[in-house]
Amino acid sequence: MAPAGRYPVETDRDPGLQPERTRLAWRRTTLTCAVTTVIAMRQVVRSGGSALSVAAVGLAALSFLAFLVLAHLRIQRLGAPRPPVLSSRVAVGVAGCMVALAVFGAAVVW
């Protein structure tokens, strides 16, 4: 709520801190993604590092970087007083990063 004696204006922050909570959700997800990528990289160290597994894990690391970029762009847009809806390109991009991580990880497991 705006302080008493003053009309709310367009730039008023949401008192429920929804944009902040959403930003932290992106941060948590990035952190989880980083941990998963590290476990994937550990796989190569264990398997002795054939060329194929090094390449697969390199690509898994790249998909983490892609996710990092998407998350960063979204977090920047969440800084606005009334953040726009998540674009479905970003949502599909995030899903693509996850699928890539799983597929490259599966290549090493195999």
Binding site: T36, Q43, R46, V85, L86, S88, L101, G105, V109
Partner: protein
């Protein structure tokens, strides 16, 4: 619903992922806070998917003393596949919720959480069993 109708529905849903403008044209824009809540739910599902994918890697790396190679590969690939399914479902559900909010319709319900819970329970029981018997034998 017939199988063909279901396939057509799935195709339309996937097409919708790549045509965001079609969603934006429908109905009225909901309060941005509802959209943000929907986005957080999407991210929570993505984290669930990441946990499944990480679990798949962990099975392969940490159960080496208990499982033969093939059991490990199968369990690991099952977890990775569950992670991929969870991811795809996350996008689909996010989009369906967004569209339902724009139309003022009820939010979509789904069997997915129950099936995922069953799958995770089965995998967990299987892992407890193999670790236990692997230890004993």
């Amino acid at each position: 619903m017939s199988d063909i109708g279901r396939l057509r529905g799935a195709r339309d849903a996937v097409l919708l992922w790549f045509a965001p403008a079609r969603v934006q044209n429908e109905g009225t824009t909901p309060d941005y806070r509802f959209s943000l809540a929907n986005e957080r739910t999407f991210l929570a599902w993505i984290r669930t998917a990441l946990a499944l994918i990480g679990g798949g890697f962990a099975v392969d790396q940490f159960l080496t003393n208990h499982l033969t190679h093939w059991v490990r590969v199968v369990l690991s690939l099952a977890l990775l596949a569950a992670g991929v399914a969870c991811t795809l479902r996350a996008v689909n559900h996010w989009m369906r919720c967004e569209r339902a909010m724009r139309r003022g319709a009820n939010l979509p319900v789904s069997r997915f959480p129950a099936s995922l819970a069953l799958l995770v329970a089965v995998i967990a029981i299987a892992m407890v069993a193999v670790v236990f018997f692997g230890w004993a034998g």
